[in-house]
Amino acid sequence: MSDMTVNSGVAFTSDRAAKGTAKGQSHRLTGGLVERAKPLSFTFDGKTFQGFEGDTLASALMANGVKLMGRSFKYHRPRGVLTAGSEEPNALVELRSGARQEPNTRATVAELYDGLEAKSQNRWPSLEHDMLSINDKLSNFLTAGFYYKTFMWPKTFWEKLYEPIIRRAAGLGSASGEEDPDVYDKGFLHCDLLIIGAGPAGLAAALTAGRSGARVILTEEDFLLGGRLNAESFGLGDMSGMDWVGQTQAELAAMDNVRILPRCTVIGSYDHGVYGAVERLADHVLAPEPGKPRQILWRIYSKRALLCAGSTERPIAFENNDRPGIMLAGAMRAYANRWAVTPDQRVAIFTNNDDGHRTATDLIAKGVEVAAVVDTRADAPTVEGTELFAGAQVVDTKGKLGLEWIRIRTASGVTRDIPVGALGVSGGWNPNVHLTCHQRGKPEWREDIAAFVPAGDIPVGMSVAGAANGAFSTSAALRTGADSAVASLAALGFDVAPADLPEAEDAPVNVTPFWFVKEGKGRAWIDQQNDVTVKDVKLAHQENFRSVEHLKRYTTLGMATDQGKTSNMGGLAVMAELAGKEIPQIGTTIFRPPYTPVAMGTFGGRSRGKEFRPTRLTPSHKWAAENGATFVEVGQWLRAQWYEKPGETHWRQSVDREALATRSSVGICDVTTLGKIDVQGADAATFLNRIYANAFGKLAVGKVRYGLMLREDGICYDDGTAARFAEDHFVVTTTTANAVVVYRNMEFARQCLWPDLDVQIISTTEAWAQFAVAGPKSRDLLRKIVDADHDISNEAFPFMGCAEITVCGGVRARLFRISFSGEMAYEIAVPTRYGNAMMEALMEAGEAFGATPYGTEALGVMRIEKGHVTGNELNGTTTALNIGLGRMVSQKKDSIGTVNSRREGLNAEDALNLVGLKPVAATEPVVPGSHLMAETGEVHAKTDQGYVTSAAYSPHIGSSIGLGFLKNGSARMGERLRAVNPLQGQEVLVEVVSAHFIDPEGERLRG
């Protein structure tokens, strides 16, 4: 057994050292696509290493002889790299530190940069010594779904004991918990042909399409174009694959109709040729330049798309097939050829197909010792320079934190232990069909290559070429890439011939399906990240979780960060065998976007923080900000909530002052945010008659009328005013919140319901700065503003009048005699550019009267005092009857909502009515959201009488007052009720009063 204990690495190191390769990079080979002139230093778990430009974190660690890179999710098994690409399930690290820490980053795609910091994750205290590896010892108890069968007694223990432990143990990496300091952009691209993947197929397609003059976008996930060509040793024509890639890239770069996007992953295929793509601009550097984005989310609008995403190698399951050093054979080859690294000096290959042999050949050529090629096929071809075991299997492995030897069973049935530090495994290749499934495409099984290929409802406009479509040879990839481009473009009317392509290898696919080694009592891994083994699949089958979706959900197979790219096939194959079915009968799970995981920040783009949504400013915002205003969000608007005066220590002082001043003299409020819609046309009046529940036909020119809109279901929807400036011209106002929807619905009525009415509408909300001037002194104030030739006396311009006038010496304006406060009041509108100046002018003109600017709070106080409804009352469930305007709903005409407003449920005997509420004890508050209960008796939903919609402290009443809905409330004036707020332990005795606390007869309005 002595040879088994040899640490092959040591001999190797001295050997390389003799050849004088970079310091410490004991496993670095010659050649490859790394810049030896550009050494980079980085740290992993605090230890400093060296790598080269062109390395990934994985290749650099491998160069330094590091095999152990992570721990598995459940059993915390030691793991190394399995792959050389984005399908990596094992080598996940926390990349960067502080606010930029990125959990679960795949070392296999993390481009190396100078100063890179990485930490291993899901282990404690260290990667080598992980306490939770105890789970591995207990694995027999922690089989698939075990948690569904236990942890149920005693009942309380689940949440108090078991679950917290499980949550702490679960998860992988940790998020920083800090705000991401980087910024992200979004963008939009358009093309005739989107080519996804720049391997041989993609490049051949791009050359072809580029020469046609069509608009082409070529995306590549990798930072190098070329795909597998960078990982292979064979040439194209008379040049190396890498050189051909370079030449092709140069030719494409010179075409201004071709846009090449490296480091760009197409993540999803959406309806009608829309693709999502993520371009990584700064993940290969320490940090982005200030103000520049880390990544861009591109939305690509394509007329045609060509998927050239290549294929992914699949492992074979056998006992202890997860030890660091065991990887996919194609990955091992890629590390040797592209990155010039090998996981070990002494390796072996386990394969069921010819491609595995290539790895052996290439590693031997690189001076790596290939101890054996174990091929499950009895008729396997021989390989130069190594021992072939045909018809053999790897049945077990050993090695604590890294592979030390493998045990094989030969065709003759004897076992042999072979000391190796690494094993390349190839179970064949799976076409990368993922994007073809995003719109419910169902791949179909191809017996000849033992793999699923795209089929069914693949996205409209998409075609597939190269290995992604099962054309595995380089020659076939080039050819199908070029031909597919020709076909796609022909459909768009481009006449183009396939680009001339170099000679390339055209080896047939020789694979004999072999999924898992039957022998051995130990565990054979299928999903390495989620620790799903062959035994787990067997158990799922045994417990009748046999559909592929049940298998996945019960065992978590394929639900890890790699979404089963290397594991789904294995799971399917084992289940098929157990169920005695063919693989296609078991089916395949649906692949969904994104193709690879995407940072949330990328989807967020620039819509973050204060820029989450646009901010709308009122015309007098500048003045308000200069005059102590506190602002409040009203939808997207910022409105002055109140204006604090020096010495005021509580907002209530400011609000009381503003309300009192308005009722006693005059107040001014920017009400621009209300929606304004210009309605014109010969049929404008008829139109409004149908939009509003109340009649508008007879409204006189120069007059304004309150209007109530219903939804077609008879429920109140919005209210406002309509001012008639001419027979064929109205200006309609809406509430701030409903400005957009009311406009939308008017367009609906105009275009869809009554297309032959002559009516035109357009929004003018933003064009006019509008101010409420309210209070007994409002007319006196306005007289100083309105140009003298306009008579605004009560006689000439009574309540509910409107007129187009001029102010301040000829500035055109609109004046409305309407009131929300209940006082004699006007609303005056001037072109928005003058809004700020108008506010100044009004204040100046009002100085003599102590004119006071008021904000939304005082506005609210006064409307409650007056019993006007707003959104709190028009909450989408209330009827005209509820708010006391039942009689307004004209039954004589057809208007939206009239018919359904007659339904029984909207006209119940004990329907809610709007009432005023006053606390019996003036010191007590009326609290909005309180429910109304009888003065005595049980407090329960069954005894609920109604609720408080709005409340405020009324400086005029000298107490808190409220509005609310009360069952049959109109008939219950004077009654005492409890306003209960158990949520906050409050119960207030209130008296039911009229909703009009101020001037119920409305004399002030007309004063």
Binding site: F188, G291, R299, E611, P614, Q636, T832, R833, A841
Partner: protein, 188 residues
Amino acid sequence: MAELKALTALGGYEPRVDEFAGLIIREVTDRALASLAARLGSEADCAAAAKGLLGAVLPEPATWVAGGDFTAWWMGPDQWMIDADYASHTLLAAELKSVVGGAGSVTEQTDGWCRFDLEGSSCFDVLERLCQLDLRSGTAGDAQRTALEHVGCFLLCREPGRHYSLLGPRSSAGSLHHALMTAAGSVL
């Protein structure tokens, strides 16, 4: 009574100008706007009257035309925006109404909008970070309505890739300008 002093959409007394390598963003404040919608059944009269004033035929969908003092662009079926110099056409709406009379509905729009003109060689690169439209295949005379960073806008192409006019709701001028500045900063 003191004369009312106008503010720009960005809240200044002078229009704002921002310069980047390859792009200038200018706030434009000296234009008057009025919308014109043809009355049902009077489309021809409306068009004829408009032509009389503009000296040009009302533009086709998704385009703008210039004629004499005026520019006009299509807003929607039978609806256009008319644009003219503010100083000489302050009362543009009235002017327009006097011409089309009963054949059209005219609405004052001057202060409903803020406008930013983008000029320079980097227009494509900056706008593709903001705008869904396929501007690279656009031509001078295009006038589209779309949304940029959640703000509904008109985008007029004056010279493809080099000169655009962007009009957005005046109250959102600050947010729209911020979006332009951010995109320019990302690219340039």
